[in-house]
Symmetry: C2
Subunit: 407 residues, 2 copies
Amino acid sequence: MGSINASSPQLTRSAVSAAHELIKEHIHLTPVQTNTTLSTLASTPQTAEALKGTQWEGQTPAYPKIKLFFKCENMQRIGAFKVRGAFHAVKRLIEEQGLEEVQRKGVVTHSSGNHAQGVALAARTFSIPAHIVMPTISTPSKIAGTQSQGAIVHFSGSTAQEREAVVAKIIERTGAILVPPYDHPNIMIGQGTMALEIQAQVDELVRNDPALSAYGGEKGKTLDAVITPCGGGGMLSGNAIALHNTGIKVFSAEPSFQGGDDARRGVEAGARIETVKTLTIADGLRTPLGDWTWKIISDSKYVAGLYSVTEENIKDAMRLVLERMKCFVEPSAVVGLATILYNEDFRKMVEKEAGEEGWNIGVVFSGGNTTIEAITKIFATVPEGVAKRAEGTVGKDGKKEVENVAG
Amino acid sequence: MGSINASSPQLTRSAVSAAHELIKEHIHLTPVQTNTTLSTLASTPQTAEALKGTQWEGQTPAYPKIKLFFKCENMQRIGAFKVRGAFHAVKRLIEEQGLEEVQRKGVVTHSSGNHAQGVALAARTFSIPAHIVMPTISTPSKIAGTQSQGAIVHFSGSTAQEREAVVAKIIERTGAILVPPYDHPNIMIGQGTMALEIQAQVDELVRNDPALSAYGGEKGKTLDAVITPCGGGGMLSGNAIALHNTGIKVFSAEPSFQGGDDARRGVEAGARIETVKTLTIADGLRTPLGDWTWKIISDSKYVAGLYSVTEENIKDAMRLVLERMKCFVEPSAVVGLATILYNEDFRKMVEKEAGEEGWNIGVVFSGGNTTIEAITKIFATVPEGVAKRAEGTVGKDGKKEVENVAG
């Protein structure tokens, strides 16, 4: 099958910097926001009650010191980070094959989600025909959304085989070039550009207001770690490449529901898990790692730790982000925050590694493409504990929350 | 009944500036955001279909040219603009009576909403006891929220008489000073401080990027109008006072449901409407104007026009703000945007007044204090048309949307 097959860039920070130069005129510099309520919550031990029924029941709750910096990629163009990789892949194609040639061939991808919109937008920007293969059962609004970006939508069945058969036919007929959703160096490097921004924005925020930092920003650096959601691993591996050897650790967050934490389990077992079948509410994270992303993510010199959270953790975190931060996110976006707030393994690790000084952690909100109806469905049956925990934080708003926006 | 009774400030722009100096260390400088999708929608004529069944059915849809600038008071402390008036009122009390005296007496108000939280926070900041009278039927989360701000909650029945009886008893027993929710010069002047920020922030945004302006910002001014929701009228009158004689027009937006547009109707009839009984989803706007706010709002030298919107208009606008802008707001917050998008009287007026050049309009998002459950309830029965119209705008995202945040 045809794909982005030209010479791949090095998987290095300087390749990420070059990618950033290439795409930055096409993407938003999304804001980094801070929130006192959430940083306070992250720095408060969970109750013994909250740990009941979890694997940490009966243990002393961790007491880490954490300041949070939220990278709002939900405010990115098309509402998700995916435009970064899409623009990078498309611009590299143009560099390598010439605009006319790429316009003649077109590009193709299969996705019913944010990647489809990203590729459609990037292609439209350069008047390149974009073929998007979507399952027949996709929601009408997603089909309409992709079409409104000027893409040609093709329908297929829902399985990987059915999708790929349609893609293959399109390639055969048109010569279109495949832009894969995550498992390609150009995509990984493109997604990693957000890490450069986070680093610079947190530096600026802390320079302007040292109180935002866990330790007043006097360590010579300001950012200690970044945590991102992990589905196919494009964003996680990209961030890990960008921050490799900077002293800033990169962590992974996944949903554990029905084995959705395939990256974590694979790394633990020492072998990539090649298929995942989960219906987690974090629907952007239902995919397994690919060969390329596995290589980076399974290397502990790149990704310092992989963690997972339950569906309830995701819902609790999502409620906090919507109702307290007033920020509209999709469920996949909050698994990083959920890990920080509710995963005791992560919290104990931070307590131990960060010590008295604490850590400043960058948390990627990956996207905001959901609907009122989808949220309604997710919260239709709210367990007691969730509602109670969320209420306990009502109104504990502090100063210095929203103005801290580094553009 | 005791109330803020000391010498009132002049109702002038310079009084608003003085108020701003007094409170600015206690409030957030909330961001002003722009959004290409919504500005484009505002500058696109409604369809004949959309006007069916409205009072404008069969008329040629207006074709105004509008650029929108959203003042995100949903990101204000306690999640709403109400802290501005509350801090101003409390600080003036301290100036007039001395901190010790105010601490001895305490403050009191009746509210189940944002004003209660605002007064509680302002009082707590200066270690002043705050008594908040809330209806027994208030939702537990609001009671918990008010208590978590350190306020003493007292319960009453739901009618104005029952509430005021409890307030009177508290004043009798403690000497507490009443901080009214809107109908007092100190409250109006305090809320008006947002207008100074909007003006400066829009200037800055347009200076940095003239493309954000309807006319490239070359008129000597950048902001043409501000539209705010109107309930009791504290915010509307405050903005009108702040922008009086600046050339920037101020407009009012109300829900029309069950006569919720009492300000508009009162101004039309030439007499204040003193009671309102509406269950509009814009629950912050269910109150009538007071004597003080009426004086300003009924004066067309202050408020240039009053408009109203339907419940469906509010829901449509709310969906756009949540799903497209990724901004979490309460229903009351979007009546200004709903007016701009759906009220043909307003749109025709802009087309006529603004002409070819168009207008830059500041739109106040007054607050974001709602819950997932409340939103679920509001959208439980979505009429066909609403869902369809919302879908039609999916993915029409442009460039330069989110980074334009003037802190």
